[in-house]
Symmetry: D2
Subunit: 351 residues, 4 copies
């Protein structure tokens, strides 16, 4: 109801604010008897953590996870996994200047309208810090999906107006913006550094490819696989849109162009993005999301404060000039959560 839980069978519940004592997640519905280590999860956390390069914030979040329940002698027991991260670099005083003013692009105004009270320290619950629990839980789902032969990979497709022209999966984790085209990556980094110097930020597009999903996954009416992935992605703070397969280009296509024909080997094309009628086709699942520019910028902006007075604001602090590089492990985590949940839902139906 209050929306801090995601999934039906493989179900996660997160808690925590950016400057509270801790953030974390309870992962429920985990298959028992599966080998799992903190190191395996930590690897995904490290991809999300700040300070990885010149294009991410130097802020230290101490993303060190600890599994506090649900494990016995190195294996999952089927009871809830509780994974926690302590907040160690809390500096609430750094936010005292924004205590009363609504930062443009942030959820300051809407939280106050919703709850009548607001934890203004570092965006509180609306902080990107909240995604730490998602990535930890997503790593558990990823481990289960490995046993199913499913692979999920996301990368920057476009950043600051620069678009990848080639696709090379090898290079993604080797450049600071996680782009799939090494040449574009160089120009993207240059662009982001320029913007950072100017106190501004930029948006981008992240693409996700999922391979190895068998045909027949997804619930065909309200819980279509694409509908669930759309919800999962739009639940990530900065995401403002999603498209599957041919996506928005389908608006200009004919049925005879968009329909994916079949031959004896299967589908000849993949305009559907691997999903038909909400159910996986067995093809690669492909979607793209648009990531808005980071809201925290040091360019002066006009805003209102809680007394209804106009004022200028400069959002100082340690912020990512683009969210794309660090959102990628979150995108993958959410995709893993949706997929593992639907595998288990399929098992439930047939079971």
């Amino acid at each position: 109801m209050a929306g801090n839980t995601f999934g039906e069978v493989f179900k996660i519940t997160t808690f925590g604010e950016s400057h509270g004592q801790a953030v974390g997640v309870i992962v429920d519905g985990v298959t028992p008897g599966v080998e799992l280590t903190e190191a395996y999860i930590q690897k995904q956390m490290d991809r999300r953590k700040p300070g990885q390069s010149s294009v991410t914030t130097p802020r230290k979040e101490y993303d060190v996870i600890s599994i506090k329940s649900g494990m016995f002698e190195g294996k999952t027991t089927g009871t809830p996994l509780f994974i926690m991260l302590e907040n160690k670099d809390m500096r609430p005083e750094a936010y005292s200047d924004i205590q009363n003013a609504f930062r443009p692009g942030h959820a300051d105004y809407t939280y106050l309208q919703k709850y009548g009270i607001r934890d203004h320290r570092g965006s509180g619950r609306a902080s990107g810090r909240e995604t730490a629990g998602r990535v930890a839980a997503g790593a558990v789902a990823r481990k289960l999906l490995e046993h199913r032969g499913v692979q999920v990979v996301a990368y920057t497709k476009e950043l600051g107006g620069i678009r990848c022209e080639t696709y090379n999966e090898e290079v993604i984790e080797q450049n600071a913006v996680r782009a799939c085209d090494p040449d574009a990556a160089v120009r993207m980094i240059e662009r982001v550094e320029q913007l950072a110097a100017a106190g501004d930020s930029c948006g981008g597009i992240v693409e996700c490819r999922i391979r190895g999903v068998k045909a027949g996954l997804g619930e065909p009416v309200f819980d279509k696989l694409d509908a669930e992935l759309a919800k999962a992605m739009l639940s990530i703070g900065a995401v403002k849109g999603i498209e599957f397969g041919a996506g928005f280009a389908a608006a200009g296509m004919l049925g005879s162009e968009h329909n994916d024909e079949m031959n004896a080997s299967g589908f000849v094309s993949n305009n559907a993005g691997g999903i038909l009628g909400g159910i996986s086709t067995g093809n690669e699942i492909v979607f793209r999301i648009v990531v808005k520019p980071t809201s925290s910028i040091s360019v002066p902006q006009q805003t209102m404060n809680i007394h209804g007075e106009e004022q200028q604001i400069i959002t100082e602090g340690r912020h990512d000039p683009s969210i794309c590089p660090r959102i990628i492990p979150v995108v993958e985590a959410m995709a893993c959560l949706v997929l593992e949940d639907h595998y288990k839902r399929q098992a439930a139906m047939l079971g």
Copy 2:
């Protein structure tokens, strides 16, 4: 779990196949004591029904609804409303030729993979006929939203490559394609008729505007208002993408451009599309969806049959050359369902 239910407080469950005996919906969580008539709901059904113009299928679906429970002396009682539509124009024999072949763009192949059994008559559960229950339930939500001062309007923004240049809300229901620009509408209709004659179909873009929603609606983590709207829209058969506010254009914008500044009167711009941090800002909520071209075309296509053999297929029958005009009441219905549910969720939190 099996995904035939939508919503948490204002909750609907649909049933029915295109060529079974009936389709319909149970609407649960309805506010008691609200005046409601079958005529009010029927008005929305009539906007969805086939045969409204040259650009929609001449098929007759007899979309006459009947409320069979949950009402007493003209008012809702708070118990479930059951709304049913009998299927009267069933011609399963019309589909005997597609019994064994997988129609490109349809869910024939994926349903068989998922369930191991498939009702091939007119797409079965995957038929657009399923949306009749949604529109009926959406009309109930719309009635409750009227009391809250909320208005939801959707319209064709682009069709067959032709884009609306002006916005005139008055004309939407007065042209066969439900476009917001009367001149564009004329050219769209011409284009669709051409394509229909050629046995082909085209895609388009539908835009939805929601006015009167107070600031503070939406659950800020997984059940963000935009995340829920995204799921709702992607759960409609032909929808392949969604974007809010500036949408995919945000990929090329700077933070200083995309952030909506505020003055004492509120937000100066609306790149966010009326939602920040998953919570409504009080501004107009604006989103666009891409609608793929109708999959059923009479252009010959290559496909596979259930025996794994290649064959050609022509999807004969009575089909819409574009889905946009008839999807609009479904889009509005789903938006109404999300909104009414979130109003009640907000009441629950504060209650």
Copy 3:
């Protein structure tokens, strides 16, 4: 939320009032490919219907079910089964005298307090008529449980102060009160007929035995198998208590008496009633429920009306002098729903 849905994977949603147009149920999460007939379901409906004997109401409810979706060529398809019963013997005028007065033991007063509006015709949604949908859905669950080797049988253990002394499963469906002891049954019927003649009613105890459930079913914290069965049984109108295995007698036992010891063949006794830590032991599951006397009696009683005035009331009409005989198929149906749901939940966890 509004509580008209039961189950998580095998999930039912009911609707309908006693004197509306219809009652029924949507059954979601049904295993696809299972052979099912209306006759199979009807058999259970006939056990629940009124007018079976001198100890049940002569009221005719026309409990003829019709499956309107989710079937294809005699098999389930995995899409929602919609099962409906039309109400044909509606005589709302028969209830005009109770329109304004609150009948003792009924939900008249509480419904009005909750909703601010009340459908007074024959108890509306609070009528036992609502259980028709449950029995229909329970029959579907029973069919799936047959394939798992599970048997559910309930019977009258005590009625009007008369207790069964022997257990003979053969005789249960052969006497009008569905008692397990034929001698006790004769005396029970005599007692009930006396009370009916006096316009009064009596309570009783129903016992349920479930055989063939494998060890390991049930979710061990909040959704314990006994917790879910307790909720299912207390959700039936006239049930005021439940106990498992040794039940309330455990209050007077020692640990050394109550603990079920094991030998190499399994459990030596069954004080636990087949459930330990919320999970099935593989033993017979045994529970008893207490059924309050029918509230509708023609003995004059003191009550209040909607204007807050005191008055006498006689609940005339066609009522069962005891609810036990007709509640038995409802008890079995609810037990089947809980079990089938938990089998599928177990499959989900392992899947």
Copy 4:
């Protein structure tokens, strides 16, 4: 699905095993802006903790709670409260002798059957330690119910065959068995000490009274207020039955005796236990639960081990000879959770 979550609006999710690193709870759906302190919650924890008297285990569990999120400047923010208790007195080696044998009355056998893996240290997830999270969450619900004028009190009604003859609410927290009759309490304590000395244990009956609940609470079909309370109570480890109002005695009553008549001031009697048709009447809600004798006894018992071999077992360790005194705060906590959830559900329906 896996059943570690309880409630719909006011929703809790617990985690933790008795000998893992921590136990705790996420409380979601909390009203924002409510003053709350750790001390308020700790007070309830202290009622549940071991070592309070000669009739409870001397084991130290260090039930010190810490709220790690969802609070700001002493008030709830509407985001999830995370409440944790570290496990500090872990002595897993104390359980090495029961590693392979199934303790009678415990969930050892059923957990292994369900999951195929078992954390044998101190009952793992099946330990009473799990209820710490429930009591913490229940304290939050209790705080919200205080503002509604609702009071929940539970007490020992019968223990070791000794029954309370008088009702004096003042004395409940002043005697070690939390009985409502001080004379009976003296005899109960004597009885329990005898049994403890003999290495045995005894069962009892706990009664709960809830005052101040307005008429109209509860969802009338599957989520009846009594059905939800029944599930909540049966979800507590040692509870084997529940009855409302007149309870099982209703089996021997006539309708003219059991029906609660009304006069202008309301209900004259309360055989219904404060609930009619699943909805609160405004009267005191009254129910009783039966608590089985503690399973852990040092009397030698016959059992099986994981190799299928018969053996004798003595469950040594620090155990409560009766569960009643320490289950009382758990019973109250679960009742508070059900009530607060239903208040919010009612607000949702009307909202």
